[in-house]
């Protein structure tokens, strides 16, 4: 008899660059995550209002329409999203953004370019902590 399949963890990935999004989707899919992809800040806000809080959020800082920091504030204000771990994806050297993101309720940040192994292990750590 087959062992029951491990339920997939849900991750909301907010990333506008198609190449990076494709790479992240592959890496996260391989690490047994179900990826919900929002292509910009506006879509992220619309999606967040319609779905149940995911297990983790991966949020790019530089986004069209609304910045990652604005989306972060919006998500944190939503009911049930207060304790969802949010990891920010930021370009190298934007220390100001990192500081602001952590002050506004982000749990951690990853600098682009990122190490694929580090990304998945960090996500796992936060999901395990939340569980």
């Amino acid at each position: 008899m087959d062992s029951p399949a491990i339920p997939k963890l849900r991750v909301l990935m907010v990333e506008d660059e198609e190449d990076t999004a494709s790479l992240l989707t592959f890496l996260l899919g391989r690490a047994n995550y179900q990826v919900i992809h929002a292509k910009d800040g506006r879509q992220a806000q619309e999606l967040a209002g319609t779905i149940a809080p995911p297990d983790i959020v991966l949020l790019d800082v530089m986004l069209p329409f609304f910045s990652g920091l604005q989306v972060l504030t919006y998500l944190r204000a939503l009911e049930g999203w207060g304790k969802v771990p949010i990891i920010m994806l930021t370009a190298d050297g934007s220390e100001h953004d990192i500081k602001r993101a952590l002050e506004n309720g982000a749990n951690d940040y990853m600098v682009k370019p990122f190490n694929p192994r580090e990304l998945t292990s960090r996500l796992k750590r936060f999901v395990d902590q939340a569980a």
Binding site: L23, F26, L27, K112, P113, N115, P116
Partner: protein, 370 residues
């Protein structure tokens, strides 16, 4: 009879002209349609290659598959863009897989061919790719590109050389940095980032020492961005060796202040009485960052400087000293003999008062009403 012949001729010329115009318009329309068709075909081909290779590239980050789809030369060009984007998105051991993929698909060979392409865009793509691939066989070509008229080409070539072998590239780059005034110092600092902050700082400082004063001064100011102290020894040596230009001297003092190394305090103090006002200004600002208690009197004396900006920076430096309090600032202000000297300190005293008030916790509304 003659009139009839003439009207026939006019009619014939007219009809030829109309036919010619119609033909030209038709040809133009055909041309446009052909161009649109070619463009559409290229876009479709690009989309197909992107859709096929984007997931494959993601997969290659973990492991390169045994079999790969066939590629035409045009497809390889699209793949080059995708490959570079993927390469620049990741760090660590995954990059080795992408290099293997490039060699297996022959994109490295294509990049070598494109290095001498007529189109600038393709040439730049080739330089970036060969840098990422650390392709030593093109070292001389890239070194020659450092002299390119186009600043962007030369900067990208410099970056590629640093990717290939940072230690060997730096001696090549130092004289170029000193010479090229079309290279933005910020770009130069960013260019050295992959080589590491310490290597970057040392290389930039050496280049600054050799460069013309206006370029050297710009480079030194941007050294602070590397957040490394490795750039300081060549600059200290430069100051000890002789008389650098005022611009370079001011830039060095600015950097000494930013790095706040106590070893430079004596040099900073020595320039508080420099004849050039902007050198004194940088010395005053730097002393505000590295000064000790005995420097208070030096800064107070500069509140009487003949140049307004020096006085302003002296007041600012005094108020920023780590041990300075509002009370101490008030005492110092009362001790100043001239009204002008006191006037420079007053805005900073007011500011420190406001900041102190901000630090006092706000009274809760109920307590206020009570």
């Amino acid at each position: 009879m003659l009139a009839l012949d003439q009207s026939n001729l006019t009619l014939r010329i007219g009809s030829i002209a109309v036919i010619s115009i119609y033909s030209a318009v038709c040809l133009l329309l055909l041309g446009i349609l052909l161009l649109r068709f070619i463009r559409h075909h290229k876009d479709r081909r690009r989309r197909v290659v992107t859709e096929t290779w984007r997931p494959l590239l993601a997969q290659c980050v973990i492991e390169v598959p045994d079999t790969l789809p066939p590629l035409t030369d045009r497809d390889r060009l699209v793949l080059l863009y995708l490959w570079n984007h993927c390469y620049e998105s990741i760090r660590g051991e995954a990059r080795a897989n992408l290099k293997e993929l490039a060699r297996r698909t022959g994109t490295d060979q294509l990049a070598k061919q494109l290095l001498h392409a007529r189109r600038l865009r393709r040439r730049l793509l080739a330089v970036v790719t060969l840098g990422h691939l650390q392709e030593r066989s093109v070292w001389n070509d890239l070194a020659a590109m450092l002299q390119a008229d186009n600043a962007f080409v030369s900067l990208v070539a410099a970056k590629a050389l640093l990717h290939i072998d940072a230690k060997a590239a730096i001696p090549l780059l130092i004289p170029v940095i000193s010479r090229r005034n079309d290279w933005s110092p910020l770009k130069v600092v960013a260019m050295f980032e992959p080589a590491g902050a310490d290597i970057a700082a040392e290389a930039i400082a050496n280049a600054a020492c050799e460069a013309a004063p206006e370029i050297g001064a710009r480079l030194i100011r941007h050294l602070a961005a590397t957040q490394s102290q490795h750039g300081l020894p060549p600059l200290r040596a430069l100051l000890q060796k002789g008389l650098p230009s005022d611009d370079v001297l001011a830039a060095c003092l600015f950097l000494f202040g930013e790095c706040s190394d106590p070893r430079d305090v004596a040099t900073i103090r020595a320039h508080l009485s420099h004849p050039t006002w902007f050198v004194r200004l940088q010395a005053v600002s730097a002393l505000g960052k590295v000064g000790v208690e005995e420097d208070e009197s030096r800064l107070l004396a500069l509140l009487e400087d003949e140049h307004w900006w020096v006085c302003y920076r002296a007041a600012e430096a005094l108020s920023n000293l780590p041990w300075m309090t509002t009370e101490r600032l008030t005492t110092l202000c009362n001790g100043i003999a001239t009204v002008e000297g006191q006037a420079h300190l007053l805005p900073f005293m007011a500011q420190s008062n406001v900041e102190r008030r901000r630090q006092v916790p706000a009274i809760p509304p109920q307590a206020r009403t009570a």
